[in-house]
């Protein structure tokens, strides 16, 4: 019986002990913050403890320390909440300190940590990332349960360029010193830290990397320094992806030789649009649109145009329709017809068109592009503009973006980026041949696609006081050919161009005298006649200085041919 009584007493005593509850120092966010620059309001609040008799413990001194991360929060104000006029209040602040708890006690044993701090078992050490606040409130009467001590306002700072990757641990209480009027220490506890603020958007995005992808770089035609970028806020971009009037450039610069740029000054979680520009003054711009492009456009035009869903088209990619549509009314019409092909032919012949066209050449580079992942895709309405969208949004987890660049008229992508992502290629099943002439055309030919190799002999020679440049060819089945030739205009004057290509070929020569350039070639728009073998092209120059020989006086850039089935001919010159 004694044992039972003893056990009963023990249980009762235990219940009494566990019946005591500590007072609380509570702290929580009053509002929701979502982005850098928002104001975070934190309330610090008192909840009373109970003694063993479940009677409220009534401290009259309330003192506590808390600390906040000053790299992520900028304190802007404090506001006392109790209305008592008799209370004594004080707030002290120290920057550059962080509390080291007594590890023998729970962090949330706030009164215990206070005692340890007094004894030196817990301490403040230097830490420039943290600031300490000490709140002291003393009155004759105890605070009511749930009474707020003070509200703090903080501005959310950008975590860029800090050592912090999130806003999870930015504020926590260190200790609490609650005492009754008889100086009895009151137990105090609370949560270990302020609840995480979650995902905070915005803020300096830091270094954002842009990469520009194009065959100009890949094929060593030029390098990345020939490209610049202008970045706009996406909200400043209007129809046709053009910046609205008065739109400001957020950032601009030049890519490095490899085609990469590291951009600063952008913000996280903000949408931007980038316009990438190739330097249109480069000589190779005159080599962008050639007879190979002409052949592709003619083949497409013979098929009476294409539609975005790929029905009745010879193109491999949807974007080729956009790039080939070099003649259209103000709005892009997406119809590839003979007007487009004849405008290109006229351009190659050096004939000035009365129409406004979108053919790229030196000092008039008509440019487009987009994100690598979507360039060349079309949306459900068949719009090509979906695939030329260069929108990007830096975030914490993504600060690198690939953009591609293309030039209008460059249907075979010789100086542009050839799409390589899903949804950009027209399904072969929809590439319907629509005419007899078209039956002989393969489904598009590409610059980097299959090419046949053939020998060709291009030589300059001093003969009878004149400089002759001859193109010797044994290449058969060539329905188109083009040679872009540059000559030393300080020593030579072009006197004559002699074609011996056959009776039915359409020959062209475009002489740009001021640049010392001449582009010559031939094309049969019926895809039937072929360039005659032998010496189909000969240029005669008159020297204007005394010459012993001709080495280097005449150079050649573009040398290409195309067969009736669309196959590009890659000339080999020993």
């Amino acid at each position: 019986m004694k044992k039972i009584l003893l056990l009963l007493v023990s249980v009762l005593c235990t219940l009494n002990v566990f019946g005591q509850t500590d007072a609380k120092l509570d702290y929580s966010a009053v509002n929701t913050v979502t982005k850098v620059g928002d104001t975070l309001i934190v309330k610090l609040q008192y909840f009373e403890g109970k003694d063993a008799n479940n009677t409220a413990i009534e401290p009259t001194l309330y003192q506590f320390d808390f600390q906040y991360n000053n790299k992520l929060l900028n304190k802007i104000s404090t506001t006392w909440q109790p209305s008592s006029t008799s209370a004594q209040k004080a707030i002290n602040s120290w920057n550059g300190y962080k509390f080291s708890i007594d590890s023998q006690k729970n962090q949330t044993d706030f009164d215990g940590q206070y005692v340890s701090w007094l004894s030196g078992d817990a301490s403040y050490g230097s830490d420039s990332d943290w600031s300490v606040e000490r709140v002291t409130y003393q009155d004759t009467d105890a605070l009511e349960d749930g009474q707020e001590f003070v509200k703090y306002e903080f501005i959310i700072k950008d975590k860029a360029n800090t050592n912090y990757s999130n806003y999870d641990d930015i504020l926590n209480a260190n200790w609490a010193n609650y005492k009754k009027s008889d100086n009895t220490q009151v137990g105090a506890t609370g949560q270990s830290t302020l609840a995480s603020l979650g995902s905070i958007e915005g803020g300096d995005a830091g270094n954002v990397t842009l990469n520009i992808l194009t065959n100009i770089i890949d094929d060593n035609i030029g390098d990345g320094t020939h490209f610049t970028y202008n970045i706009y806020n996406k909200s400043d971009i209007g129809s046709g992806n053009q910046p609205n009037e008065g739109a400001s450039i957020v950032a601009s610069g030049t890519y490095d030789a490899s085609g990469q740029a590291v951009v600063t000054g952008l913000e996280n979680d903000v949408e931007y649009f980038v316009w990438n520009w190739a330097d249109g003054s480069k000589d190779y711009m005159d080599n962008v649109v050639t007879v190979s492009d002409l052949a592709l456009v003619f083949a497409e035009a013979i098929g009476a145009g294409s539609t975005p869903n790929g029905t009745s088209t010879t193109f491999d990619y949807y974007i080729q329709t956009f790039i080939a549509n070099i003649f259209h009314d103000e709005a892009f019409d997406g119809n590839i017809d003979f007007q487009d092909s004849y405008e290109i032919l006229a351009y190659l012949q050096g004939v000035t068109s009365n129409n406004t066209t979108y053919i790229t050449y030196k000092d008039r580079a008509v440019q487009t592009g987009g994100n690598e992942s979507t360039f060349g895709t079309i949306d459900s309405n068949g719009s090509y503009f979906a695939g030329i969208d260069a929108t990007f949004k830096p975030t914490d987890s993504n600060k690198s973006f690939n953009f591609v660049h293309a030039l209008m008229g460059d249907v075979n992508f010789s100086h542009s980026w050839e799409p390589d992502t899903e949804g950009t290629a027209i399904p072969a099943s929809t590439q319907t041949n629509a005419s007899a002439a078209r039956m002989s055309m393969a489904a598009g030919s590409k610059f980097s696609g299959t090419a046949e190799e053939a020998n060709l002999d291009l030589t300059s020679e001093l003969k009878n006081g004149l400089v002759e440049f001859t193109i010797g060819s044994e290449v058969e089945e060539m329905i188109g050919a083009q040679f872009n030739i540059i000559y030393d205009k300080t020593r030579l004057v072009l006197d004559n161009v002699i074609f011996d290509t056959g009776n039915t070929m359409t020959n062209f020569s475009n002489h740009i005298e001021e640049d010392g350039k001449i582009n010559i070639g031939s094309f049969d728009q019926n895809f039937e006649a072929t360039v005659k073998t032998g010496t189909p092209y000969k240029l005669i120059f008159v020297p204007i200085v005394q010459l012993q020989n001709t080495s280097g006086l005449i150079t050649f850039k573009v040398n290409e041919g195309v067969k009736a089935d669309g196959t590009q001919i890659k000339f080999i010159m020993e």
């Binding site: 060593n220 000589d283 030589t459 300059s460 020989n549 080495s551 280097g552 006086l553």
Partner: protein
């Protein structure tokens, strides 16, 4: 008097000699030290870095038709001259005004494209 006769005889002898023996003065190519080639054949330019033009020596094993080729960094042919040249040294020029600033190789081949000499040039117009 003897001396005068002797001198006259020498002049007469020289005057009766075949033109072929003494005339090659015009055909002798004066090769500057900077273009001299010790081998029986080869190619040499006066300066590797070239602006506008540079002299070159093509030294040939026999008279015939040859080619001077200019290739870019990818070995693509960008210019080619076909010329008839004499056995031995031939001082000619390479003109680079129509070439972009870049590095090139200069090749001398026979008419069958067999290489006789090769060197590199850097165009710096």
């Amino acid at each position: 008097m003897k001396k005068v006769l002797l001198l006259l005889s020498v002049f007469l002898l020289v005057g009766c000699m075949d033109d072929d023996i003494i005339s090659p003065i015009d055909d002798i190519v004066e090769v500057p030290a900077s273009l001299q080639i010790e081998d029986v054949q080869g190619l040499k330019v006066e300066s590797t870095i070239v602006s506008d033009e540079v002299r070159m020596n093509i030294k040939l094993p026999y008279t015939g038709t040859y080619r001077v080729k200019i290739r870019d960094i990818s070995k693509n042919l960008v210019s080619q001259e076909k010329l008839d040249a004499n056995e031995g040294d031939n001082i000619l020029k390479v003109y680079v005004s129509s070439l972009e600033n870049n590095g090139y190789t200069l090749e001398l081949t026979d008419d069958n494209h067999d290489i006789i000499g090769i060197t590199s040039i850097v165009v710096n117009n």
